[in-house]
């Protein structure tokens, strides 16, 4: 495949993919390397990193192993990022496809709703949703997905609007295809690549949103989330700043890897057409 070849030609994309694979490996091996509950008391509180071989990354203010929390946190970040992105993209593509394909009144109504979601600051809406439905990992994931769908919806709509007047779609119509055949068979395969690329942006933002929520102690306190740990470390920031610093770097690298993979996909899937 040309696209795969083009992807691996970019060093940044390869680095991104490697980083992402490391994070995935951490998530998979977490329970094998750290069979104990990462939120259970493990040792003396506030051990500095690299000072005790048992706790390579030290311990937090409650004496829990930071390394274990980082490994388990990878699971939470990937899970929330992945599922929330899936929710956002599915809702977005559905709404965007209908609005863009049918136009007119359907479009007006759907775009009004999208606009309403975009006018309300997404983090404020997230706060409202958490205030109403509580902060278990399920509700937080769904809430993050719900506040993230408008951007993919707009993108899909724009793609559909430009594609539906393209001659090959009109040709499909003159061949007697039904709307659903046109949407699924003719337009969607051509509209999807930019949406897939944008999904990486949604995923990066989802991970950041959840970690911010966790930092404010509004996410699920019963899972090892990187944001939770940063929030906890804030209490000892003056001296033991490493408790906050380490999980922050984990978030940064994860989001960076997702962005790099997204950019690599973009260059691989949408090569600039040389002529025309």
């Amino acid at each position: 495949m040309d696209a795969v070849k083009r992807y691996f030609r970019s060093p940044a994309a390869v680095v991104g993919l490697l980083l992402l694979l490391v994070v995935i490996a951490m998530a998979i091996t977490a329970s094998w390397l750290y069979p104990r509950d990462p939120l259970a008391l493990a040792g003396r509180p506030l051990i500095w990193p690299f000072s005790n071989p048992r706790f390579l990354l030290g311990t937090d203010n409650s004496g829990r192993d930071i390394a274990a929390q980082i490994f388990y946190g990878a699971r939470i970040s990937l899970l929330i990022g992945g599922v929330a992105t899936l929710i956002a993209v599915v809702i977005g593509v559905l709404i965007g496809a209908f609005a863009g394909f049918y136009g007119g009144k359907v479009d007006t109504i759907l775009m009004r709703i999208t606009e309403a979601f975009q006018t309300l600051p997404n983090f404020v809406l997230l706060l409202v949703l958490v205030a109403v439905f509580g902060s278990t990992i399920t509700t937080v994931t769904i809430a993050v997905g719900i506040v993230s769908w408008p951007a993919p919806a707009r993108l899909t709509r724009a793609e559909f609007m430009s594609l539906r007047s393209r001659e090959f779609v009109q040709a499909g119509r003159t061949l007697g295809m039904k709307d659903i055949q046109l949407i699924l068979g003719e337009i969607l395969p051509n509209a999807l690549p930019p949406v897939i690329v944008y999904a990486s942006v949604v995923m990066a933002l989802s991970i950041l949103l959840e970690s911010a929520l966790a930092f404010l102690r509004l996410s699920d306190p019963n899972v090892a989330s990187w944001g939770n740990l940063i929030g906890l470390g804030r209490d000892v920031l003056r001296v033991q700043w490493y408790v906050s610093a380490i999980p922050g770097i984990a978030i940064l690298l994860t989001v960076l890897s997702v962005s790099l993979v997204g950019q690599g996909l973009n260059d691989a899937l949408n090569p600039r057409l040389k002529s025309r």
Partner: protein
């Protein structure tokens, strides 16, 4: 004047959006466990069922949900946002007290992100694929991936705790009663770190968009025309490329206004700024639903206002806008 009427029409069109939001969030809040009276009772340290019933009647909470919604919207038209039982004053008063730091923070962050995003984007695009471009683009990616609250905390560690250059939080020094210039300097010092923290991700976004937009415009036919006229590269960029490349940036301000306001919730919490974002956080923690709904209303209003200004600016930059009906 066409510009104004055009933007005005867009503004009028956002009124239904505003009501849609309010109705949606109002109904959503009906699912919330506990209401204002529960919160008040908790505040007072408990009370009997009869008092609760009376309070509910007083606040109209015993009515059916459509009636309550109707009441709320009717009060809203008269700009009455209700009463905050936690703060013991009208919600409107609480919000107005908290508005200035947020607006100041947003304006500062936006200006910072826009200006430096523009500058770095132009530099990167002028030397595309050379080392300044690689450096700037990499920096942009890292900034984009940095969680703002974490950046804020680390900035506090470095600049407030170790270097002790800047205050770690708050809006101004409460101890020293200052006036005029001294106070301005003091507030500015308090806002430097929050501005950087909030602006960082937007800086990353703006520089990326500006770079892409510059590269796209540089490929357009009229740039070739400008070169064929004998213009040097600096004038080509300054007189032909820049304004065209700015258009997507301006659009982005409007689209990102909501995200920026949302980001201020986190940043204000990190730096203990008494702003709207922190108020939103407090009202969630304290279950002060009246205040939360008020904040939803005001922040939507702010976003609509920013978009109105962006429309005006855009129409000023692009003469084609006025041609469309």
């Amino acid at each position: 004047m066409r510009i104004l009427s055009l933007a005005g029409r867009r503004l009028a069109a956002s009124i239904p959006t505003l009501f849609l939001i309010l109705i949606g969030v109002f109904l959503l809040l009906q699912f919330a466990p506990g209401d204002t009276v529960d919160a008040m009772m908790a505040q007072m340290g408990g009370g009997d069922a009869a008092t609760a019933r009376e309070l509910r009647k007083f606040y109209g909470l015993d009515l059916s949900i459509p009636m309550q919604l109707g009441n709320y919207l009717w009060r809203l038209i008269r700009l009455d946002l209700g009463f905050s039982s936690i703060y013991g004053k009208p919600v409107a008063t609480v919000i107005i007290e908290r508005l200035p730091p947020t607006i100041l923070l947003m304006t500062a962050s936006l200006s910072f992100a826009f200006f430096f995003g523009l500058l770095l984007g132009v530099i990167a695009a002028r030397g595309v694929n050379k080392w300044p471009d690689t450096l700037i683009s990499t920096l942009g990616l890292v900034f984009y991936a940095t969680p703002s609250f974490w950046f804020g905390l680390m900035a506090i560690v470095v600049f407030s705790i170790y270097l002790q250059w800047l205050p770690a939080g708050g809006f101004e020094d409460i101890g020293a009663v200052q006036s005029g210039f001294g106070r301005t300097i003091d507030i500015a010092q308090h806002l430097i770190l929050p501005t950087l923290t909030l602006g960082l991700i937007f800086l990353a976004i703006y520089l990326r968009i500006m770079r892409a937009s510059m590269l796209e415009v540089l490929n357009l036919d009229f740039v070739r025309t400008a070169r064929a006229k004998g213009l040097d590269e600096t004038r080509v960029v300054a007189k032909h490329v820049l304004r065209n490349a700015l258009l997507p940036m301006v659009t982005l301000i409007g689209l990102q206004a909501g995200t920026m306001l949302g980001g201020s919730v986190v940043v204000e919490s990190v730096f203990s700024l008494p702003g709207l974002g922190r108020l939103a956080y407090e009202s969630v923690v304290q279950r002060d639903l009246n205040t939360l709904l008020g904040i939803v209303f005001v922040s939507a209003l702010l976003v609509i206002l920013v978009n109105f200004l962006v429309d005006l600016l855009y129409a000023r930059l692009d003469p084609r806008i006025q041609a469309e009906g």
